[in-house]
């Protein structure tokens, strides 16, 4: 349909010049375009941060390797972590939210379109600033001024005394600026979901994606801001002679840790909750059943949001808190595993009794389920504080959180890409390339992150640019690095799929997956105005009701 429109239009109107197209994208306030800008921005940084990871893994392939100097290595792991969290994961999830939320709740755009654009460009500025640090001089060792303090930037390593030059400032200001962008988007998401649902879409009839993005946005409001506050304090220390984290003046290094992790722990839930949303949309469609236990899924998510604000010091079990504090954080951390585990059971319940189709989105969803289960269980191990006194700060933790972020979040994102790409572009991604991507990436992922747990159990700490031979770490590190290279190849295949399918993919039509939420009711890609007339809904699966008028959901809800 839309190609007919274009054909007719171009008969009447001149094709826009490339500069007009560029101008259109740069000045856009349309949520779909902003969503795509976020996603493309994030994919670019995914590749960059992935290269940083490869540098790390090549250096660690052999003990006493000298692929890069210790100074460069320390910059690599700092930039890899900072980029992945703030300039890949956050933007890509905001991008999906931007694109999908208005479509799924029957709205024409987000609540504040200009704020939306402003928030994106703030994040873009942050990313640019962080990477400008590689060019900036004045770094301590002349290797550019890229930050080398780890992505948590612990005090007092970030004090002027220990980080002269501007590297810490690049970290602080880039992340601070993009943090403001995140807050803007969160405000937008909350206002959109609360105030712009179409008639009939009560809160209990929203797609789970809307609920989860509402929760995530609420968490951003109260979790990202503590980091912003701490960063302002750090800037005051570094530029105005303040003493917030100045241990020489009686300041506290642990105060930074508390503030950082009050942000840092909810942050990882902020990242995973939208991925839960993708799973909650994809698994039902490919199991041909509604999500099992919608009300409990909502309740569990809100529960996670609250409990996750009380677990932060499990990142600090080794700093010498007293036994009561350690016990408190141990039990809250174990407790947050309960609603999280319940979600896995509900997805299992959704698949149970279904007719599972193993299309590429579902392959990645199944990978997610297994890997997130394992990641959750290694998390339970570390919730047991004494066990964590051994596991913390070692490669066991690195394995755990990469299991969550790569095995969980990235797999869920891949599923989301394969699921919604047809809607965004009007073309299907290649199933053949998708299947190849899945299996290759699965192999690489497990080769890297399964053995990595054992390196930690054998005493290998994290953030070391080299290690002594003969400690049982040598073979493990080699296998880990080989897995990384395989993952890189799989990513190349994925990117190739994205590009090639844009021109050569099969036409998708409105609803290639036979799905049930509002975004599948319109053309692919959607028209600029989304809905010709705002729909009215009577159940959680409006398109199911239309396709099955003899047995609509509205009869049972």
């Amino acid at each position: 349909m839309s190609s007919e429109v274009l054909a007719m239009q171009s008969a009447r109107i001149d094709e826009p010049t490339w500069i007009e197209t560029l101008h259109g994208w740069v000045t856009t306030v349309d949520h779909k375009r902003i969503g795509l800008l976020y996603i493309l921005f994030a994919l670019l940084f995914l590749v960059i941060a992935g290269v940083e990871a490869l540098v790390i893994r090549i250096q660690l392939m052999y003990p006493h390797n000298d692929f890069v100097s210790p100074q460069v290595f320390n910059q690599m792991f700092t930039m890899h972590g900072t980029t992945m969290i703030f300039f890949v994961a956050m933007p890509i999830l905001f991008g999906f939210g931007n694109y999908l939320v208005p479509l799924m709740i029957g709205a024409r755009d987000m609540a504040f379109p200009r704020l939306n654009a402003f928030s994106f460009w703030l994040s873009a500025l942050g990313g640019f600033l962080l990477y400008f640090s590689f060019l900036g001089g004045g770094g301590l060792y002349g290797a550019g001024a890229a930050p080398d303090v780890g992505w948590w930037a612990y005090a007092p390593l970030t004090a002027r005394a220990f980080s002269p030059g501007s590297s810490s400032d690049y970290w602080t200001i880039a992340v601070l600026v993009s943090g403001f962008g995140s807050i803007g988007t969160a405000v937008n998401l909350v206002a959109t979901i609360v105030c712009m649902r179409c008639p009939g879409m009560t809160l209990t009839r929203m797609p789970l994606l809307a609920w989860l993005y509402l929760t995530m946005a609420g968490m951003v409001l109260i979790a990202v801001t503590p980091l912003s506050a701490a960063q302002i304090m750090l800037l005051i220390d570094r530029y105005l002679g303040g003493h917030f984290f100045d241990t020489q003046a009686g300041g506290s290094a642990t105060l930074w840790m508390h503030f950082f992790w009050i942000f840092g722990h909810p942050e990882v839930y902020i990242l995973i909750i939208p991925c839960f949303a993708f799973m909650s949309e994809i698994i039902p469609v490919f199991s041909r059943k509604p999500i099992f236990g919608y009300p409990v899924m909502v309740a569990a998510t809100v529960c996670i949001a609250f409990v996750s604000m009380s677990v932060w010091a499990h990142h600090m079990f080794t700093i010498g808190m007293n036994s009561y504090a350690n016990s408190f954080f141990a039990i809250t951390t174990m407790a947050v595993g309960v609603p999280t585990g319940i979600k896995i059971f509900n997805w299992l319940g959704t698949m149970w009794g279904g007719r599972i189709q193993f299309r590429t989105p579902m392959l990645f969803a199944i990978g997610f389920l297994f890997q997130f289960l394992i990641a959750g269980l290694t998390g339970v191990m570390m919730a047991s504080a004494p066990f964590d006194w051994q596991l913390s700060l070692s490669y066991f933790v690195v394995a755990h959180f990469h299991y969550v972020i790569v095995g969980g979040i990235l797999f869920a994102l891949f599923a989301a890409f394969y699921y919604w790409y047809p809607k965004v572009t009007g073309r299907m991604l290649s199933e053949r390339l998708g299947t190849l991507h899945f299996w290759l990436f699965l192999l690489g992922f497990h080769l890297t992150f399964d053995p990595m747990h054992f390196a930690g159990l054998l005493g290998m700490p994290r953030r070391i640019y080299t290690y002594e031979p003969g400690r049982g770490w040598d073979a493990i590190n080699l296998i880990v690095s080989v897995g990384a290279l395989i993952q890189a190849v799989a990513i190349v295949i994925f990117v190739a799929n994205l590009i090639v399918s844009y021109w050569k993919g099969a036409r998708a039509g409105k609803d290639p997956w036979d799905a049930w939420t509002l975004e599948w009711s319109m053309s692919s890609p959607p028209p600029a105005y989304n809905f010709a007339s705002i729909p009215t809904v009577a159940s959680r699966r409006p398109l199911w009701d239309l396709k099955h008028p003899e047995d609509p959901d509205s009869r049972y809800e």
Binding site: P70, L157, P295, I319, L348, S384, P461
Partner: protein, 313 residues
């Protein structure tokens, strides 16, 4: 360096707890993974059943209640086991027979002071074995002179951080003799990777002998006088201490009994004359980014200085 080869009570308690936690999580994994695999196989779309939608089930209160209550119970059990071990390790009282060591973390080396024994050394810790019949644990006070570090000898105890402006405690009572390795576990700067640790658990007799030797002032070797003069007239004395001489700097390791150590530069190199010479000539060659400056000495001065270092038994 495995955490599953405990050689001391705190490490053993952690090991026992970890076995319990691993068993519980293994069971959870097997149950859930089996159900997942079963679901994927049993409920896959086949040519026969494709095209028909399955029964649209929205939920089940009983099932959901069951899989809420069971995890809560598991959490309570795990927490009870955890809390017990937390208190057992952290709130253990210090017996009067304990050896007290003050550990001060530096970028990128370890300072060890035994206040009651008048011993100051660096990078290689000596502690006595602790027998159940005659317990003699070592209680460490952890401080930092600059940024955050973390003390981690996996076979002897869980790790505890060294944080400036804060005093932390750690204890261990090794059950067997031997050399136990570890390294700094909290990123502290450029040479975090080479802030290695070496703990020598000695028999009571060997430990006492070591203490006595460490308590002596520096040996005076007349053949090393030239090197000693180089040491005392270059800036060495500003950073290093050699007890019984004018050198009493505290920025760098105490060198009084340098030759009693197996390694130099906090484990970055073996303590051989060649490595000593290389370290003195060009520290960045062994540990790039360490805070020991290259003193730009001549070859003759270097030779003399190495001879002097070697005399500090």
């Amino acid at each position: 360096m495995s955490i599953f080869a405990p050689a001391s009570t705190p490490a053993q308690s952690i090991f026992d707890l970890s076995m319990f936690v691993l068993s519980v999580t293994a069971v959870i994994f097997i149950v859930v993974a089996t159900l997942l695999v079963y679901a994927i196989v049993k409920f896959r779309a086949t040519p026969e059943n494709a095209g028909r939608e399955p029964a649209q089930v929205y939920g089940s209160t009983q099932i959901e209640l069951a899989w809420t209550i069971t995890p809560v119970l598991i959490v309570l059990v795990l927490f009870a086991a955890t809390a017990r071990v937390i208190h057992a390790i952290q709130d253990a009282p210090q017996p009067p027979t304990a050896v007290e060591v003050t550990v001060i973390g530096h970028q990128f080396w370890w300072e060890y002071r035994y206040p009651a024994l008048g011993v100051v050394t660096a990078n290689e810790l000596h502690i006595p074995v602790s027998e159940p019949s005659r317990p003699r644990p070592t209680f460490l006070q952890l401080l930092s002179a600059d940024t955050d570090h973390s003390f981690w000898i996996p076979e002897l105890a869980g790790k505890t951080d060294l944080i400036p402006n804060r005093i932390n405690r750690l204890w261990m009572d090794p059950h067997r003799r031997g050399i136990f390795l570890g390294q700094c576990a909290q990123y502290c700067g450029t040479q975090h990777a080479k802030m290695l640790q070496r703990v020598s658990v000695d028999t009571p007799e060997d430990f006492d002998a070591w203490v006595r030797a460490q308590q002596q002032a520096a040996a005076r070797d007349e053949s090393a006088v030239a090197g000693r003069r180089v040491f005392e007239t270059t800036a060495c004395i500003n950073c290093h201490t050699v007890r019984g001489t004018a050198a009493n700097g505290r920025f760098g390791p105490d060198l009084t009994h340098l030759m009693s150590r197996a390694t130099i530069a906090s484990g970055a190199a073996e303590n051989t004359p060649e490595n000593l010479r290389l370290w003195l000539k060009d520290p960045d060659g062994i540990k790039p980014g360490s805070l020991m400056p290259a003193m730009k000495l001549s070859e003759v001065e270097l030779d003399a200085l190495v001879r002097y270092m070697q005399s500090l038994r």
